[in-house]
């Protein structure tokens, strides 16, 4: 490798190792009951990767059911408003069910069918992963139960209704703060009990090995498409690529091909936007990478918001999809390796970005995605007025109407 201090793609992506470790992060820290299920899953995933029929079936569904490729849109009015030369938006919000989540649920539900499971469960925070899983389960004739915190059920009533319409059972989780972390715990505990007939469709790039690798595999289509769409449009390599990070699946989906396929000296700055909530100086945020320290939660080792005794701390964000106290282990590795930069965005900044995109481009993003959009003014200041930035618009904002209305947007 010539002249760059950054690891080559090969060095960066010798990860994960056979035990599912990205550097020190990841691994399998779970009750023994589910170890055989994870081994079975890893085996089924390896087999599927070697089976062209699996790729063909998934590819056809992504094209004809999801509507891929999702467009790469040049948002000129937004670029002008934030003072950048070019802003590219990867439009995952235009996918069926309105977010990137469907890429992963289709892949995992196909795996479930290969493994002969007739029942799937999932956890959900904002409801996007729950709706995507319920949708996929309906499509494939699988029984489906979705675990959701009671607070999120309140915040995301419309998505709860959709899941029920789609034939899924929504299981309320009142433990803890009634949010995503509690839903993950409840789903994992349920999986421990029903592991023989149930497939756990994990919604982000988190969890025990092999889940982070599986989710990356099914989401990398985002970055692969973006790279080829930039080429097709004759556009130069952007100076930066931005995505929001809760668990981190849409971010790893867009980053991974840039890390793997783009030489280090041409690689854009990669930036993950975490939730700073009411501010990093308060306890009300979800910035695990910025403010956490490494620990084990939900079966994997990664940066984690935790108290002194090692108990997971409540995360907070205006966005139900980002208030998770942990983050995918690959992101922890990428942070330490200096391959991706992570910054935190407050609720207020996200709401401003939300309003700006709506008014300049007629696109209403998910509040999660608005965290990534909120990085644009900062990047304009850092990179200058000619810079080109690609943002992953991971989902659409229909589900967030009540929240933004309560926050006074559009009043």
């Amino acid at each position: 490798m010539s002249g760059s201090l950054l690891p080559s793609a090969e060095e960066a992506y010798a990860s994960p190792d056979a035990q599912g470790f990205f550097g020190p992060y990841g691994g399998t820290f779970v009750p023994e009951t589910v170890v055989p299920a994870l081994e079975e899953l890893a085996h089924a995933f390896d087999e599927a990767l070697g089976d062209p029929a699996f790729d063909a079936e998934l590819g056809a569904l992504l094209a004809d059911y999801v509507g891929r490729p999702s467009p790469l849109y040049r948002a000129d009015r937004l670029a002008e408003a934030v003072g950048l030369g070019t802003v590219w938006l990867k439009r995952e919000d235009l996918n069926h069910t309105g977010a990137h989540k469907i890429n992963n649920t289709l892949g995992q539900c196909l795996l479930a069918k290969r493994m002969g499971k007739r029942r799937v469960i999932a956890e959900t925070g904002a409801g996007q992963h729950g709706v995507a899983t319920a949708t996929t389960a309906a499509l494939m004739g699988l029984e489906c139960a979705i675990f959701m915190g009671t607070e999120d059920i309140r915040r995301q009533a419309l998505n709860v209704y959709k899941m029920r319409l789609l034939g899924a059972e929504v299981v309320p989780v009142a433990d803890g703060t009634g949010t995503l972390a509690d839903a993950v715990t409840a789903a994992l505990r349920h999986w421990v009990e029903r592991v023989e007939d149930t497939f756990y469709v994990l919604g982000s790039a988190v969890g025990p090995h092999p889940y982070p690798t599986i989710v990356r595999h099914f989401q990398k289509v985002i970055g692969e498409e973006a790279l080829s769409q930039l080429r097709e449009k004759g556009a130069r390599m952007p100076d930066a690529v931005v995505a929001c990070v809760g668990g981190g699946s849409n971010a790893i989906g867009i980053f991974y091909p840039f890390l793997r396929d783009v030489p280090a000296d041409e690689r854009p700055l990669l930036i993950g936007a975490e939730a700073a909530g009411l501010g990093l100086e308060t306890d009300k945020h979800g910035a695990a990478l910025t403010k956490g320290r490494p620990g084990v939660l939900h079966g994997f080792y990664s940066y984690l918001l935790q108290d002194e005794a090692g108990n997971p701390k409540e995360a907070y964000s205006i966005s139900a999809g980002l208030d998770y106290p942990g983050v995918g282990p690959e992101h922890s590795y990428l942070k330490d390796a200096g391959l991706v930069r992570y910054e935190a965005v407050t609720d207020r900044e996200a709401l401003d970005a939300f309003a700006l995109l709506a008014r300049t481009e007629g696109i209403i993003p998910a509040i999660e995605s608005a965290h990534a959009l909120a990085m644009l003014p900062r990047l304009a200041a850092e990179l200058g007025p000619d810079a080109s930035v690609l943002v992953n618009v991971s989902g659409r904002g229909d589900k967030d109407m009540d929240i933004v209305r309560e926050a006074g947007l559009g009043a």
Partner: protein, 270 residues
Amino acid sequence: MAGERTASRLEAAFRRGRPALVAYLMAGYPDRTTSLRALARAADAGADVIELGVPYGDPLADGPVIADAAQVARRAPGGFGLAETIDLAREFISGRGDDCPPLVLMTYLNPLMSMGLPRAADLMREAGVAGVIVPDMPPEAARPWRAVAGGLDTVFLLAPTSTDERVRVVADASAGFVYCVSTTGVTGERETLADAGRRLVERVRAATTLPVAIGFGIGTPEQAAEAARIADGVIVGSAIVRRQHDPSVVGDFVRSLARAVHESGRGSAG
């Protein structure tokens, strides 16, 4: 650890010619004083081993009774966690002198990591703790802990879903005893002792000379007696923790469990 293996204190508690009762109590529940008195009553009532739960905020392997008790203990003034649990263990063990059943801490991995593995091991040894059970630490993930855990037995779990290969790996890694989870699922009382548990114990016996104990889902003296007919030890948790607010009730209940286990065991009928 090569060469001749001598039975540890923990292992010896299962080798008295009759099955052993392992009583699980939650440290700091409903408060420190009551939990300490409940420990004493359980020991007086014939518990051969005491498993002391560390209150933790995300107890993946535990059912509602133990998870709720952990929440109560954790939210006590000052918070009850691993450090406080080790301190409680020290007071209990030193207070009883020679008349103390071996005490095993059941904790999740993150409190250990948060304290620092070497420091956690040091404090446990100083307190006189016999071993640990860490349900979210499979043997493959245990190397850093084992490197510092000399003198402490690390007990690993097996489940009915475990393959024969897993049974070998886990049995080889365990010390003190092997913990068989009788059903797939979290801790908690069940209607009947699953056949799956019986078959698991048989498979584990074939793979190890260590004592084999069975737990999860055992809530009555009758179930404990049934479990004692197949295993070297019977672990009762939720049913005790449910009574833990009243130490004298814990004492009476543990006595009935101990009698059932000791009298109906494999060794008793000759």
